[in-house]
Amino acid sequence: MKTSRRRGPFGSALRHALLLVALVFPAARLSAHDIPRDVTVQAFAKPEGRTMRLLMRVPLKAIMDIEFPRRERDYVDLSRVDQALRDAATVWLSNKIEIYEGDTLLENPRIVSTRMSLESDRSFGAYEDALAHVTGPTLPADTTIFWEQGLLDVLFEYPIQSDRSRFSIHAAFDRLALSVITALRFLPPGGVVRAYELPGDAGLIRLDPRWHQAAMRFVGLGFFHILDGIDHLLFLLCLVIPFRRARALIPIVTSFTVAHSITLIASAYNYAPNALWFPPLIETLIAMSIVYMALENIVAARLARRWIITFLFGLVHGFGFSFGLEHTLQFAGSHLLTSLLSFNVGVELGQLLVLALLVPALEVLFRFVVAERMGTIILSALIAHTGLHWMAERFGVLRQFPWPTVTAAGLAGGVRWLTIIVALAAITWLVFVLTQRSSRPGAGETAVGAEK
């Protein structure tokens, strides 16, 4: 894929022309104004047949160095504004966008239509309304509109090979304002609408990624998410301090993985409570899980119990992972489940990396620095201390929220979750019974001291 930023011949010529104007005429003639603090660019991208339509709306206050013809009191002269709008559309929009069909960079778009709109106009709420607006009647020429308070609406058309192709977009609008959000809606054939909320320059975005492209992106996201989450890492450390052999690690890590996958996927499919108190509750429970594990390490950890308790805490951590994922699911395209599973794979890879570093480090520590039992107690005490601080802080946030009013709807939601928990407990019990039946008495019961 070509990666260099394209500048059309017209854009280049126009920039030179603007530079010439700036040198010849006093600067005051140009529409100098401050760079705005925040701007929202609205866009629709719709491939249809052999054409990709790109509808865009940007506030004129973000357009620098374009002279808009004016009349009295700096109202825009709407009868003469069309060329300025086209120049602005080229310099500040189409020159900042690269659209790829597969790996091929699309050619310069054709400007089909430009409009100046009032800031109260709401036609960009839906594609059909926006299209009708941009191709419909212009504002009456006598409309009074101060030049910085208008909106620039544009319809671009890109020639494409097929509306079924895979498209990617790179919109570099970071120069429009100090903070830019591009609200892009992609409308591929079939009626699906994919909404993206992109920061100023979000890099190349695959609008309809293939499963492996989405998977790669989410593996990376999962990998770095676990490495970023110090609380998840401390929990992991607690888990493995007393159990460092593969036979003990595998059931624990598997249990954690299965559990957090369940709640992560459930959250992505909107089964988690959508309430302001829920994230602080989960954060508090995560801190609590660290404290519990650390204390259990100090008292006496038993493998048979650890994988069960790890499963329960894994459910909580899965909700925690989902908070980090919610703003990135927009990049999953039509592969939500693939992306979620890939995110989990990334998390596992991150965990394996951490384990690969932690386990030998702990071995060295316990062999050469401090005896295993004493080392376990010291390390766990330090972790418990940190966890306690987090727990207090997070509970402080949680208690700011009022107790939810008890309603039938709320109780029904609670019962739904209770049912899930009971069902999980039943499954866990069943697995326990079956493993007991197939193993000899006493197997799997490994005390801390007996681990080595």
């Binding site: 603090r37 925040d38 929202t40 009191r73 700096d74 009032l118 800031e119 109260s120 009074t144 509109i145 101060f146 910085e148 308070q149 208008g150 208690r399 700011q400 929220f401 009022p402 009013t405 309603t407 039938a408 709807a409 109780l411 029904a412 019962v415 739904r416 209770l418 049912t419 009971v422 069902a423 407990a425 039943a426 019990w429 069943l430 019974v433 039946r437």
Partner: protein, 415 residues
């Protein structure tokens, strides 16, 4: 496996099964109850004050009496306040040169959603007459900023760009001065001024402006001296039509003091304090001291009225309104600066559903809650006059069953 263990497993397994069945039945019953409850009972929007909004002003600036608020198309919050004119010397030593803090902020202030101060401007300038006592702010569909004024000689409205560049003045300052009366005159010094509610050029101490985008017409709540709603061409500022209470021809004859037991006055009392248009093109007019809201068609035909806290005297109970953000604008939020509440009103029936707020100086309380506006997310913003001198944000928390007529202070975490 022993018989004992097998029997125990059977019991535990059956217990799990029975529990799951009971939970399923319980959930079905609760869901049916919830569906029935949602159909019955009154629901109303619920709010909580955001005690950390807005952020502190820069430059040791403080607000004076804050008498106007509006939210623009970018969800930025604009207020107008009276700055130094309403600050005691002990409030503005920096300005007086006698200490380090504080000074009156510029009259027009713009805040973003995070509560940061953005643009700030206002005050006398070339080409227009700044009001003696500014009052009311509105951002129209073209992004222009309108302000009125209720100072002694104020009888005009002004239009600026968002950057404070002057665009238009409608009406002339001093137009309501009695023939032969001396120049000058502060707010409240009404002796030298007289209402002129049939004047086709100027106004009489304008309280608030609302611009109807569809017709490009400005509705003027006119006002503290006049007793009418006036409608202007929003571009030229030329008067197009006007009317008084019940759509009557306005009459400036002084009315007896408001008596809740007396038949409703056939004219507005001063001040006519708001004139806001709903999505179904009905104009809601605040007859503040008359404790009533009157509803009109855009042409001035009277539709209906309703009274609120009818026993409220002095400054009255109907100060300002904002419409809810649902497509039908089902609710009206009404600022009541005497009883220090925001009333939640059903727009169709004009029934008061509940209120929130209380008198006081803590977040969520009010001292002279004067103006109210709403953003696209349904959050409310209020400003306070007198010594309230404050802008507050009330975060929309969704719909909730009405359990109290007055919810009191909406402090986060107390309900």
């Amino acid at each position: 496996m022993s018989n004992l263990t097998r029997r125990r497993n059977l019991v535990v397994g059956a217990g799990f099964g029975a529990l799951l069945v009971m939970l399923a039945v319980g959930q079905t019953v609760l869901e049916k109850t919830a569906a029935a409850q949602s159909k019955a009972g009154v629901q109303a929007p619920r709010f909580e004050v955001d005690p950390l909004w807005p952020k502190p002003l820069p430059n040791h600036w403080i607000l004076g009496s804050a008498i106007g608020v509006w939210v623009d198309a970018d969800d930025h919050i604009w207020i107008i306040h009276r700055s130094s004119a309403t600050l005691g010397n002990n409030e503005k030593p920096l300005e007086m040169g006698t200490g380090e803090c504080c000074a009156g902020a510029p009259p027009v202030l713009e805040f973003d959603q995070a509560g940061n101060l953005l643009r700030h401007w206002g005050g006398p300038g070339a080409g227009y007459e700044w009001p003696d006592s500014n009052h009311g702010i509105f951002i129209d569909h073209k992004g222009n900023v309108w302000i009125g004024g209720n100072g002694g000689p104020d009888s005009h409205v002004l239009k600026f760009t968002k950057d404070g560049k002057f665009l238009m003045q409608s009406g002339k300052k001093g137009a309501r001065r009695k023939t032969g009366a001396a120049a000058g005159g502060n707010e409240g010094d009404v002796a030298g001024f007289v209402g002129g509610s049939n004047d086709e050029v100027s106004f009489g101490r304008v309280a608030k402006i609302f611009v109807d985008a569809r017709a490009n017409e400005a509705y003027i709540a006119d006002g503290y001296l006049n007793k009418r709603v006036a409608v202007l061409d929003a571009d030229t500022g030329k008067l197009k039509r006007f009317w008084g209470a019940y759509g009557n021809k306005p009459d400036d004859t002084p009315l007896p003091a408001y008596d809740p037991a007396a038949p409703p006055a056939q004219q507005f009392r001063n001040p006519v304090h708001c004139a806001d248009m709903s999505v179904d093109r009905l104009l809601y007019v605040c007859d503040r001291v008359g404790d009533r809201l009157q509803v009109f068609t855009p042409e001035g035909k009277f539709v209906k009225e309703a009274f609120f806290a009818k026993n409220t005297k002095n400054a009255g109970s109907v100060w300002d309104i904002a419409f809810s953000k649902d497509p039908q604008q089902k609710y009206i939020f009404m600022a009541d600066g005497v009883n220090e509440k925001v009333k939640v009103v059903d727009r169709q029936t004009l029934q008061e559903l509940t209120t929130f707020g209380d008198g006081g100086r803590q977040p969520g309380q009010f001292y002279g809650v004067h103006s109210i506006a709403i953003d696209s997310k349904g959050n409310l913003y209020t400003t306070e006059t007198y010594e309230g001198k404050r802008l507050q944000k009330f975060v929309y928390k969704g719909m909730a069953a009405v359990t109290k007529a007055n919810q009191g202070t909406t402090w986060p975490g107390t309900r």
